[in-house]
């Protein structure tokens, strides 16, 4: 009898092992197909599509990781066509479009909208990369302008530029190099981390809420800071200085800039408050909920002031894109629908500028 139990248990264990090995193989095939990560690679190393080095943040020509594809000059855009009028979109992950379906990020939707009336007249260059701050834009701007020669620039800066000053950011997030590829937490067995995140996502909401709160506490502890409801004025002064210099470079290159205020899922006054607030706080442990709304107001005030001073058009996305989950997939990033709304606002602004300049 005991031998039967042992042999049965061994058989069940064996079958469980077959299932686990099959799933690991499936994971690796999926990585190979969608991300280009070699199935037999022992380290999980997603191909980098952009680099962060002495030249600043820049896309790696011809890189692709399944969803995102970089063109020959380092942008997530089709190849440039010389005779078309170029619109350059500057910003961070919201502009790069990390959450939307491929092709639905707002620069692509803007291009389609503009070309509806004038097929082939415009091309929109997505000049943004995830994590780009205003000073990163400033560093690479001259080179970007030289390669793209835009008629208009659209600046949709991320509030991350004001939440952390450059020094604080570098201290917390040391610049990664190609020698330090991201390694999966679970080392060589890729399945486990995927399974863990799947189980987490399937857990009932109260458990997920508790888990998010724990993540916020952990992030605050790791940041070694007390969350603030009001960031120091120096952060906004620094952002304002970088913004001024960026706008000056654009003006010097005779590029008309459209400044866009920053929209988020919660609305300018925090009308929508849902679980994404905790996700936001785990991402930006420096801020309390009120700190987010205060930062957003002051950040947008800096943008509006800069545009007013330079007589630049402003698209007030903060007020014109409805808050909530229909337009935002997380706290800042758009859904396909949110991107479509953004593209609509920008297309209207570009057309108005065309009329105003007789273009």
């Amino acid at each position: 009898m005991p031998s039967t139990i042992v042999s049965r248990s061994m058989r069940i264990l064996g079958l469980a092992l077959i299932a686990a090995v099959t799933w690991e193989a499936c994971t690796r095939i999926q990585d190979q197909v969608t991300l280009g990560v070699p199935a037999l690679s022992l380290r999980y190393e997603a191909p980098a599509i952009y680099a962060y080095d002495a030249r600043g943040v820049h896309g790696i020509p011809f890189a692709h990781d399944g969803k995102f594809r970089i063109n020959s000059i380092g942008f997530r855009s089709p190849e440039l066509v010389p005779e078309r009028e170029t619109i350059l979109c500057l910003g961070a992950s919201e502009t790069f479009g990390i959450a939307e379906t491929d092709g639905k990020e707002y620069p692509r939707q803007l291009e389609r909208r503009l070309n509806e009336a004038h097929p082939g007249r415009y091309q929109v260059v997505n000049g943004a990369l995830p994590g780009e701050r205003i000073e990163d834009i400033e560093v690479t701007l001259a080179r970007t302008l030289k390669t793209t020669r835009p008629k208009y620039a659209i600046l949709y800066a991320s509030p991350g530029s004001a939440i952390w000053t450059a020094e604080q950011w570098d201290h917390l997030h040391p610049t990664p190099t190609s020698k330090d590829p991201p390694v999966e937490r679970w080392g060589r067995f890729r399945l486990l981390s995927r399974l863990t995140s799947k189980i987490r996502a399937a857990l009932p909401e109260p458990i997920q809420a508790w888990s998010r709160k724990r993540a916020v506490v952990a992030a605050i502890a790791a940041a070694h800071e007390i969350p603030a409801s009001h960031l120091p004025e120096s952060n906004f002064r620094a952002f304002s200085d970088h913004l001024e210099r960026t706008l000056a470079v654009l003006a010097a290159a005779h590029v008309r800039t459209i400044v866009v205020t920053h929209a988020n899922r919660f609305g300018p006054d925090g009308a929508v408050r849902d679980a994404q607030l905790e996700t936001f706080r785990a991402f930006y442990p420096r801020l309390t909920d009120d700190g987010l709304f205060d930062t957003q107001r002051r950040f947008n005030a800096v943008l509006r002031r800069a545009a007013r001073t330079r007589h630049l058009p402003v698209v007030d996305a903060a007020r014109q894109i409805a808050p909530g989950s229909a337009n935002f997939s997380d706290f800042f990033h758009f859904t396909d629908r949110g991107s479509a709304r953004m593209a609509q606002l920008l297309a209207d602004a570009v057309r108005e500028e065309d009329v105003a300049t007789g273009g």
Partner: protein, 476 residues
């Protein structure tokens, strides 16, 4: 509580463990009944009263009919009782499913005639699965009246027959003659049933989560856009054909698989419907439990084909229109039902021609059948377009684009069909070509290989599934 939810992941093993801890089948029945009521109440506990009302009314009416029959009582009284049961069931259905529809349409007509509204706006909430349990309960009373079955002795047995959770909200619509005997007698779950059950559950989840849920956003996108090209309409209709098949047959497979693990056998609801060569054949392969119900309790009651000619065609059309309306309170479902009725009538009229054609085809008969299957699939897909459309205006615009506009073929639009629909079609075709693919997989392959195969399907269902969608047929 959807089958593809975390709650069900906890619920099902708990119910299964409790079930096998009880030795007596009557205790098991009570346990399953409690679990089923909890399952239904998890959507909205208020609708439990509706379910219980249906159960109690039909149980009592059937008992009374049985008593009269045993005492050779008057057939008139039996008929009166049956009528009361039908009125009660259809009354519940009419109010909870169709009130808003009637109210909208009647008030719309009144408004058009500049008259005051005829019905108050009550905004009645739709009870999940109401059409399924009402039809099932009604069929029981009718079968008892017709003498096909003796009325159940215990209320709990009958209540479990109506509310058994695997099939409660989206079928298959079980006939009492098939399910009640399984409830009132001791059951023994065989190894074959366990294996078959697991097979059906994994297979069903793959169809639902990988095929249907991944096609859902693509279909939604097509049907939410205006001005589709003819090619896009075609892709949308094909994609929906596979979405609804994956969704509904996936649900049925899971339901049948779950029931098997409790030792119950639920009826087959789908038998490779897209391999039908005629509308008549389609309805013997698609949603078999509904088409059987409509045939047994509606078409035959209307006279079926006994009076020939015109009356047969009228009965067919009426049955299919009511079948269409059964799906939902909207004009597009009525239109879909009418379309299916017209197809059946048209096919019936052309039967002599098809018979002649088959004789002429001689050895080319298989080719003729393949051609007929392809043509029938196009008719089916146009029907799905009527079914899925959100308004009559959309139907008109899509039909116009499909038949009267110049097509612009963009192969990129069709890639989701390649990724999600083709694997399903290939596997179904393999099964349909009598290769016994699935049976061979289950019975002949070594267990280790089968586990690997199921693991691949489970991986696709879990890790490559889109955002979970509710089952389409829940709202019917």
């Amino acid at each position: 509580m959807l089958f593809n939810s975390f709650a069900f992941l906890l619920f099902f093993p708990t119910v299964l463990a409790g079930y096998y801890m009880l030795r007596d089948y009557r205790q098991q029945n009570i346990w399953l009944l409690a679990a089923s009521l909890f399952f239904y109440g998890s959507w909205d506990w208020r609708f439990l009263f509706l379910l219980l009302f249906t159960i109690v009314v039909d149980f009592m009416v059937a008992r009374q009919i049985q008593r009269l029959r045993d005492a050779s009582g008057s057939p008139g009284a039996q008929r009166l009782l049956l009528t009361a049961s039908i009125v009660a069931n259809l009354g519940v259905l009419a109010f909870f499913k169709y009130y808003n529809f009637f109210e909208n349409n009647l008030n719309g007509v009144a408004n058009w005639l500049h008259l005051p509204p005829t019905l108050p706006a009550l905004h009645v909430a739709l009870a999940i699965g109401i059409s399924f349990f009402t039809f099932q309960s009604m069929s029981y009373t009718i079968d008892v009246y017709r003498g096909h079955l003796r009325a159940a002795e215990r209320l709990t047995d009958f209540a479990l027959f109506v509310s058994f959770f695997p099939h409660l909200v989206a079928g298959p619509i079980m006939r009492a003659v098939d399910l009640l005997p399984q409830i009132v007698h001791p059951r023994r779950t065989t190894r074959e049933q366990v294996e078959g059950g697991i097979h059906l559950i994994v297979w069903g989840f793959w169809k639902k989560m990988f095929v249907a849920d991944n096609l859902a956003p693509i279909v939604n996108d097509f049907f939410s856009r205006g001005n589709l090209s003819g090619f896009e309409v075609l892709v949308a209709a094909y994609a929906f054909a596979f979405q609804i098949y994956g969704d509904f047959s996936g649900y049925t497979d899971i339901a049948r698989g779950v029931a098997k693990l409790f030792g119950f056998e639920l009826t087959l609801n789908f038998n490779l419907p897209y391999l039908s060569a005629s509308p008549q054949e389609f309805w013997t392969r698609w949603h078999i439990s509904l088409s059987t119900w409509l045939r047994e309790y509606l078409y035959f009651s209307l006279g079926g084909n006994r009076r020939g000619g015109f009356l047969t065609y009228r009965n067919l059309l009426l049955t299919m229109v009511i079948g269409g309306l059964w799906h939902g309170a909207a004009w597009n479902f009525v239109l879909w039902g009418l379309y299916q009725g017209v197809l059946l009538v048209g096919h019936r009229l052309l039967v002599p021609f098809f018979a002649r054609l088959t004789v002429l085809a001689g050895t080319w008969r298989p080719v003729l059948r393949v051609f007929a299957i392809v043509v029938m699939f196009q008719f089916t897909c146009y029907g799905w377009l009527l079914f899925r459309a959100t308004s009559l205006a959309q139907i008109a615009s899509m039909t116009h684009a499909l038949f009267f506009e110049r097509w612009q073929i963009e192969p990129a639009q069709a890639w989701p069909l390649l990724v999600f629909a083709v694997p399903l079609a290939v596997l179904e075709l393999a099964a349909g070509a009598r290769l016994g693919f699935l049976q061979a997989w289950r019975r002949r392959l070594p267990l280790e290989l089968r586990v690997a195969g199921y693991s691949v399907l489970a991986y696709l269902s879990i890790f490559l599934a889109a955002k979970p969608q509710s089952f389409i047929y829940f709202k019917f």
